[in-house]
């Protein structure tokens, strides 16, 4: 009964080999032609698509609902909860035309599935505007949902470049703004730092295969090469929840880089650093990571292994930082210094509230809010916030970007002065 099938088995083996070859060729084909990224601004067609070419009024009875789409559970909750909390404290002691702000939190899990689901629920909850989503993947997937509903949303932390250059004839989504510094800006600073300050000529790149990780690592490679550096080995991608980095580490050792660049999140950076530092040869290999990794949980999880790591954090502390810090400590017992993107969330919320104050019209004890005017006011935002001056470019991006660099020293993040290690 068994040997009879032998013939067909060989045929299948060959078919399989052929398929594998096709896939291999398909996968290894040279890609990344930069799509140029012409920085187009909002268009009339864009406003029309969002239904914001004319007044779109919603009436609010009672408190004004503003949505927050953030990761409240899951691997990235350590990032998401402080963001949500920080946004909420922006409304402390503030009323708009006598009405308080009602925050509606939804869990976007930092995922492309959670994003639209949370956006959907926020739209159903009839929020007038929203903070979030916090991750690039989730944001990308929910742009259209917010846009269809005409609801303006400001992400405190979605940093993938193409979010504001989507491939559609109407141009960028007019309902989307963001406060954080873009991946490209962050990667440029990191590349400079690695090449100029750390004097690294060869870099090994490891990245989370999600939107954020791919984008950040690609930008870093681009800028590092521009600086004159070389990317050694094959950039190693991994999926979230990966724990086994031993094979990547062997590749790092073989590639003999001067620096390791990591674009990902702390949940994977923790075991990665622990396994990296367990290897005698790589004990002191410089390690540069992105903002997704700079988190308190990295310090508590990786402990000694995190020592000496260089992490970047886009943004700066603005004049309102102390106000935010105090409010955050009072209400949520949190430490604003450790809340990554907390200041950005606070500023995003402030931008919405400030705009609301200008556009809300009182009528029979209720508030009438024109989504079109709200959107316009948010676009015109210009104020000193907790993360520096908040202004938006014509495509929804933050204007004027600053990136700070930190080093882990003695179990704490210490900010580096420019040009110092």
């Amino acid at each position: 009964m068994t040997n009879r099938r032998r013939g067909s088995r060989w045929t299948w083996l060959m078919a399989l080999a052929a398929l594998t070859a096709i896939f291999a060729v398909a996968c290894s084909g040279d890609d990344d032609d930069d799509d140029g990224g012409d920085e187009a601004g909002f268009t009339d067609a864009g406003y029309k698509a969002a239904g914001l070419d004319k007044a779109r009024i919603i009436t609010v009875d009672g408190d004004i609902p503003i949505g927050i789409s953030s990761a409240l559970t899951g691997e990235v909750a350590g990032l998401g909860i402080p963001i949500a909390d920080s946004a909420e404290v922006a409304s402390e002691g503030i009323t708009v035309k006598g009405k308080k702000i009602k925050w509606v939190r939804e869990d976007d899990l930092c995922s492309p599935e959670g994003g639209p689901a949370a956006a959907d629920r926020l739209v159903k909850a009839k929020v007038v505007a929203a903070i979030g989503p916090i991750c690039s993947g989730g944001t990308r997937a929910s742009l259209k949902i917010f846009d269809d509903a005409g609801i303006t949303h400001i992400s405190p932390s979605a940093t993938a470049g193409d979010l504001t250059t989507p491939a559609r004839p109407e141009g960028p989504y007019v309902t989307f703004f963001r406060v954080p510094v873009l991946n490209a800006d962050e990667a440029r600073e990191q590349a400079k730092f690695a090449y100029d300050t750390l004097k690294a000529k060869k870099a090994f790149v490891i990245f989370d295969t999600d939107d954020y990780g791919k984008d950040l690592s690609a930008e870093f490679q681009k800028y590092f090469k521009e600086e004159g550096g070389e990317i050694v080995g094959t950039p190693a991608g991994y999926e979230k929840k990966t724990t086994d980095f031993k094979s990547i580490i062997a590749n790092i050792k073989a590639a003999k880089p001067d620096v390791i660049y990591h674009a990902g999140f702390y949940a994977e950076a923790t075991p990665f650093l622990q396994q990296l530092r367990a290897d005698g040869d790589l004990k002191s290999m410089p390690y540069v990571g992105g903002d997704g990794i700079k988190n308190e949980e990295l310090l508590t999880g990786a402990k000694d292994a995190a020592e000496g790591a260089y992490l970047a954090l886009p943004g700066t502390q603005g004049s309102q930082f102390e106000t935010y810090k105090k409010a955050y400590a009072d209400k949520f017992k949190g430490d604003a210094e450790t809340a990554t993107f907390g200041a950005e969330a606070y500023d995003a919320a402030t931008a919405i509230i400030k705009a609301l104050e200008k556009v809300a019209v009182e009528k029979d004890g209720k508030l009438e809010i024109d989504l079109k005017k709200l959107n316009e006011e948010i676009k015109k935002s210009s104020f000193e916030g907790a993360s520096g001056k908040v202004e938006f470019e014509d495509n929804g991006n933050r204007a004027g970007a600053v990136v700070r660099l930190f080093k882990v020293v003695g179990g704490k993040y210490v900010q580096l002065e420019a040009g110092k290690k």
């Binding site: 398909a26 599935e113 259209k144 491939a167 295969t209």
Partner: protein
């Protein structure tokens, strides 16, 4: 004991289908979008269930990688139907893509099926599980075609002449039609010569082959038909969520579909619908505000349980967290729905190993596990 169950079995199956259709249409007409979305998902999974039922219930092939075909259908529609997709210029009309997805699904089914079909049950299960993962990893890594984890979005919507299918309700109608077609197709197949061949293979593969049935051919047929139905589901799901990415095609989809087929009662189409309502509908309902409001009334229960937890914390090293206020139970239940799901699977299996609504034959199979008539050594 003329139970409700056995009485239900007397009702012809087309009546079940009709009832389901009417319920769906009523829901479409009267309910708001949130509910319609749940109805869509229930119907979608019921359709997928009918597809898997052909493979598992009729032909007896345990497939743990059904998601592979679901993903295939979704990606066909996404790659050729979205302006953003990197490998294909332009957009193909959805009504061309839909049959294309079904055919490619069948093709993938056969391609995956041929090398593994000689394998026995449990081996087949683990290999198909592997295939499910491989398809997901392929989708994740072939950025040039699938955009990797970024996924493909902004799909061209199906056009039905008078407008575009763009609203939850429209998609519900679409999936209801698909479900009815699949229902018709699978029940016709089951009652035909082909269905009889599948059943014979399930009962005793060697003997079936000895009786002149080309078992590989019919197993492949079952695989291809199941796969094409899975792809059909994916092709309708893709424009509905308007976003196709590898993370949507995890093992949990396969498990969900298999579980609803088995919990519904294998080989029984009506059971599949009930299973889908239970396993897909109920967890969705848990996320509703109404559910949360209802649960909020159980504050007293929370206080009682918290006292117990306090006591436990006092006498042990453990530091168990307190239960949250009952107002948050709705959210928590939504969060814990997989825990509930797992427990439910075990419970239903232990109490009703042949499913809630087993088909006549499956029930027979279960009743007499003590084999062989007397007189044989």
């Amino acid at each position: 004991m003329p139970s409700i169950r056995s009485q239900l079995q007397q009702v012809p199956e087309w009546a079940h289908a009709l009832t389901f259709l009417v319920v769906g249409l009523l829901g479409w007409y009267f309910l708001d979008d949130t509910w319609v979305r749940v109805l869509f998902l229930v119907t979608l999974y019921a359709t997928l269930g009918m597809g898997l039922n052909v493979v598992v219930g009729l032909a007896g092939l345990l497939d743990l990688g059904f998601v592979a075909f679901f993903a295939t259908g979704a990606y066909v529609v996404a790659i050729w139907g979205a302006p953003i997709s990197p490998s294909v210029e332009g957009v193909v009309n959805y009504w061309v893509l839909l049959p294309m997805a079904v055919f490619i699904g069948a093709g993938v089914g056969m391609l995956l099926g041929l090398p593994v079909l000689p394998l026995r049950g449990d081996y087949l299960a683990i290999v198909t599980l592997g295939f499910g993962e491989i398809i997901r990893i392929l989708a994740l890594n072939m950025d040039d075609y699938t955009r990797g984890s970024s996924g493909i979005f902004a799909l061209a919507k199906p056009d039905y002449g008078a407008g575009k299918i763009d609203h939850v309700g429209d998609f519900l109608i679409m999936i209801l039609i698909a479900a009815m077609v699949v229902w018709f197709v699978t029940s016709r197949l089951r009652d035909s010569k082909v269905g009889r061949a599948w059943e014979a293979i399930r009962e005793d593969e060697d003997v079936a082959q000895g009786m002149g049935i080309n078992t590989t051919r019919y197993k492949l047929m079952a695989f291809a038909i199941g796969a094409s139905i899975g792809a059909l589901g994916g092709a309708i799901y893709a424009p509905f969520v308007d976003f196709v990415a590898p993370a949507q095609f995890g093992l949990i989809v396969s498990i969900n579909v298999l579980a609803l087929v088995i919990i519904g009662g294998m080989g029984n189409t009506s059971g599949v619908v009930v299973g889908s309502a239970l396993l897909i509908g109920v967890p969705e309902l848990l996320q509703f505000e109404e559910t949360a409001n209802l649960l909020a009334k159980f504050g007293w229960l929370r206080d009682g349980l918290n006292t117990v937890i306090d006591g436990f914390n006092a006498i042990s090293f453990a530091d168990l967290g307190k239960l949250p206020p009952s107002e948050e139970w709705g959210d928590k239940l939504a969060l814990y729905r997989f825990i509930v799901f797992g427990a439910l699977l075990v419970l239903v299996m232990v109490l009703r190993p042949s499913g809630l609504f087993p088909s006549r034959r499956r029930e027979l199979e279960f009743q007499a596990e003590e084999p062989e008539p007397a007189g044989i050594a």
